[in-house]
């Protein structure tokens, strides 16, 4: 760092000015600016949903902008797809790698533009060219190796090599380090430094504060789809960045005091839960009548923790106690038997059967209680469904309505009804208000508060800071598969939560 001349304006390779983009109901980008120079590593930071990915998608032609302009190498440009952007020299290295596992490294790098000898593919030339690329990058990978045999880190190197082979002038790294080991991260950084020395412009998206400090020259922070500011990395602290990331005014009243009495019994205790990479040694307690918020950034392992707890995914180890008694939960069937209900973040895929009626969805977890002999007691089934339509004020012409015809908020109510019919004492709400409009959101909040007041215990996973601060009695914070903190609502601030959610990785 420091070797970048930050004053030379003609070094600017890319300028995005006043980029605006709306989706139905969401103002995703609100006149965002971004300036990237040659020979610079520029961090792009922000909370979940701040608009980083959307901005990059606008840049590379996946989304069309509503207004604003993109200047690249002194000309105004507009790309219509990633291919055009690639041709011009703007390449994304994705977090999820786009590689074909069964092909060789060389075949992957030149996929879609294979060298030909007559009608035959010239594998030898592709291998030669790949080797040249790797030498340039000082990477040690055999171009003849099968892609699926490489480690994630090596695969990423290949992705970078592929980007270089496109004569890239701007490379965007989207959370490149998430899946890498420390050694691999070091290798990655040395490559990035090389690229910087070759005067490429690099955009680096990451949540890891320590990496930002090490590798980037400038930081642009976004919040709620808007541009907040750009800092020179050397001259700012982690706190500065966090303050810019979270510095929003909270409109809804945050909870100031826990509604749970101090002596409320523990209904659920999870000890040393391990499930794959995303859930490592997670322990927590849930009290009766409590709303326990789970906060963290995307990929922190919150949903994975919930799914492991619920038995939806296999777990390696960990003990679960319900009302002080140790229980075995190896499938959702077990979890439901023990009175746990799970409302997935992805309603349509995991929550409801959209092609079926409200009635059929409401009794999905309870059908055995609505049988008379061998037959479903449709009258009883209908009665209970109508009761919950009423109680949750679900907007529908009747219980026979197909769930597909309901709005997001009302679909969510159907899922809630499913677990209330089951009389679950522990409810896991995973992103309960995702894709739900403001009015319905408030209704869901009221409902959750009511359920907690009635003695149900709730785990609420949320990526929305306002939601966490408004609803939780206590907050568990996770980062990269580990629990990094636990804060009582009385002490919770946005800064404190974000600090734990972006804990330095050492």
């Amino acid at each position: 760092m420091g070797d970048v001349n930050l004053n030379k304006a003609d070094d600017v390779i890319l300028t995005m000015k006043g980029i605006d983009k709306s989706f139905p109901g969401v103002h995703a980008l609100d006149h965002v600016d971004l300036e990237l120079r040659r020979g610079e590593v520029h961090a792009l930071m922000g909370e979940n949903g701040a608009g980083k990915s959307t901005l990059m998608k606008v840049l590379t032609g996946i989304y069309t902008k509503d207004s604003g302009s993109i200047w690249y190498e002194g000309r105004e440009v507009e790309f219509h797809n990633t291919h055009e952007a690639q041709e011009a020299g703007i390449v994304i290295v994705h977090q999820e790698l786009n590689m074909v596992g069964d092909l060789t490294v060389a075949q992957n790098i030149f996929i879609g533009r294979e060298f030909k000898k007559g009608i035959m593919i010239d594998d030898k030339k592709m291998i030669r060219e790949s080797r040249k690329l790797f030498d340039e990058l000082k990477i040690d990978i055999d171009p003849k190796a099968k892609m699926s045999d490489l480690t994630v880190g090596k695969q990423q190197m290949c992705e970078i090599a592929k980007a270089i082979s496109h004569k890239a002038k701007v490379i965007i790294f989207d959370e490149p380090s998430a899946a890498l080991t420390e050694k691999e991260i070091e290798d990655l950084f040395s490559i990035i430094r090389d690229l910087r020395a070759q005067n490429l412009g690099i955009i680096y998206i990451s949540h890891r504060m320590d990496e930002i400090k090490v590798i980037t020259d400038r930081v642009t922070v976004m919040r709620d789809g808007a541009y907040v500011g750009t800092l020179i990395t050397d001259q700012c602290t982690k706190e500065d960045i966090i303050n810019m990331m979270v510095g929003r005014v909270i409109y809804e009243d945050p909870k100031t005091k826990s509604a749970v009495p101090a002596d409320a019994p523990v209904v659920l205790k999870v000890e040393h839960l391990n499930a794959g990479k995303m859930v490592q040694d997670v322990s927590f307690e849930l009290h009766k009548g409590e709303i326990l918020g789970f906060s963290g950034l995307m990929g922190a392992g919150r949903t994975e923790t919930a799914r492991a707890l619920f038995g939806a995914d296999p777990k390696q180890s960990g003990d679960i106690y319900i009302n002080g008694e140790k229980v075995e939960i190896n499938s959702p069937e077990d979890a439901v038997k023990h009175g746990i209900g799970y409302l997935s973040e992805d309603r349509k895929r995991f929550g409801i059967v959209v092609q079926k009626s409200i009635t059929e969805n409401s009794t999905l977890a309870t059908l055995d209680q609505y049988m008379s002999g061998m037959f479903i007691n449709k009258a009883e089934e209908r009665k209970i469904t109508e009761r919950y339509i009423d109680e949750l004020s679900t907007k529908t012409p009747g219980p026979d309505q197909l769930v597909v015809n309901l709005s997001g908020g009302n679909q969510q109510k159907v899922v809630i009804a499913k677990w209330l019919v089951r009389n679950c004492d522990i409810l896991i709400f995973d992103e309960p208000t995702r894709g739900i409009d403001v009015g319905a959101k408030n209704e869901i909040y009221k409902l959750m508060n009511r359920l907690a007041a009635e003695g149900k215990s709730i785990i609420m996973i949320s990526s929305e800071m306002t939601e966490i601060l408004r609803m939780s009695d206590r907050i568990v914070i996770m980062c990269e598969g580990r629990k990094t903190g636990e804060i009582r609502i009385e002490e919770a601030t946005q800064e404190a939560i974000m600090d734990k959610a972006t804990r330095d990785i050492k």
Binding site: V353, M374, R422
Partner: protein, 365 residues
């Protein structure tokens, strides 16, 4: 649906509250986009009686009548009792096959082994009857048992082991063909004739007794029972729901593997019963055959509004579909065309209806 024993007629016209067929879905998708167009049609479909019977099934039923009228006017003497009985003979066994596979398709799966398994059942039970002197009633049970075992086999592999239904049923199709051939030493098997002096021919009364199509009564009873299974029991509910969204059902704490397997077991049982009705009508079975019936059974399902993607199924629709295919086969024979012509038509029916279903869904999304 009030009451568990729905009226017979109701079943035939296919009343089942939750399932909606292709015409209906296609239309509702259209009406979402364009509230003005198709207003008249929309009004007709909103009629409660039509809604209950299912618009597409009414259309299919009208097509059936039209086909009968056309065949009757083109072929001399088509409108005779003999013809009807002949059509019914085809309806019985194809009906059981199609109803069975309806359950499997409802889960989003497929079974290409039904035809050959039916033949395998008939061959093995018939061979035992002729060569080992086992009583007819036990042979009938044996046939059903073999079908059941094939259903268990398919269902276990699909639901618990996770092998794709396509592969499983292709494999068991070949196993069934091979098993039937090996067991009978590649001989065709003739079940006893009606006037068998040892009284072994009594089973044919299941199909026809004194000129009365008793098979139709038995088939009707089976349809009513299966209609109830599909719409009023846990098995049917879960089969339909998991066909629509298996993961959501699993996350509701339901043992989806068990219920997914049950669809194949139901199918297997019905295939075993189909075998009995096949020999009841035709007596002779040849080894190594049966796959043409797969297409005919699947065509009956998709015509009736059962979606190949799973989640939507109509017992009533399948029954009408079975009648359409059976009439078609009789008509084509009467027109002195070969079975191959019918195979072409059935193949096209499957493609057209599956395409219509897929495109209706796509428009809806």
């Amino acid at each position: 649906m009030n009451g568990n024993v729905g009226a017979l007629l109701c079943c035939f016209s296919g009343v089942d509250g939750t399932s909606r067929g292709f015409f209906e879905r296609k239309q509702s998708a259209k009406s979402n986009l364009d509230p003005v167009g198709g207003k008249k049609l929309e009004k007709i479909k909103q009629n409660p009686i039509i809604k209950k019977l299912g618009f597409n099934r009414i259309i299919l039923f009208l097509i059936l009548l039209l086909m009968y009228a056309v065949f009757s006017s083109v072929v001399k003497g088509f409108a005779s009792m003999d013809r009807i009985l002949s059509i019914l003979n085809y309806v019985y066994f194809l009906g059981f096959l199609a109803l069975g596979v309806t359950f499997v398709i409802a889960t989003g799966g497929i079974d290409f082994s039904i035809g050959p398994v039916m033949f395998c059942c008939a061959l093995m039970a018939g061979y035992t009857l002729n060569n080992y002197g086992m009583p007819v009633i036990l042979c009938i049970l044996m046939s059903i048992l073999i079908g059941f075992l094939f259903g268990m086999f398919n269902g276990y592999l699909v639901a618990f082991v996770g092998v794709p239904p396509f592969i499983v049923s292709m494999a068991s199709m070949n196993i069934a063909k091979g098993l039937g051939s090996v067991f009978t030493k590649t001989q065709s098997v003739s079940w006893p004739q009606a006037a068998d002096e040892a009284g072994k021919g009594w089973y044919r009364n299941l199909v026809k007794y004194n000129g009365i199509p008793t098979g139709l009564i038995l088939f009707a009873i089976a349809v009513v029972i299966l209609f109830i299974v599909m719409n009023n029991t846990q098995a049917g509910r879960y089969i339909l729901c998991l066909g629509s969204n298996k993961e959501a059902v699993r996350l509701s704490g339901v043992n989806v593997k068990k219920w997914q397997m049950s669809a194949y077991v139901i199918c297997g049982l019905l295939v075993g019963i189909a075998a009995v009705f096949f020999v009841g009508a035709y007596t002779t079975v040849q080894p190594g055959l049966g796959d043409t019936y797969n297409n005919e059974a699947i065509a009956s399902c998709v015509m009736g509004g059962t979606s190949m993607v799973g989640g939507l199924a109509s017992i009533g629709g399948t029954v009408i579909g079975v009648f359409v295919i059976s009439l078609l086969q009789e008509g084509i024979m009467a027109l002195r065309m070969t079975k191959e012509v019918q195979m072409i038509i059935t193949g096209l029916i499957v493609i057209i209806f599956v395409y219509a279903d897929v495109s209706a869904r796509r428009r809806k999304n």
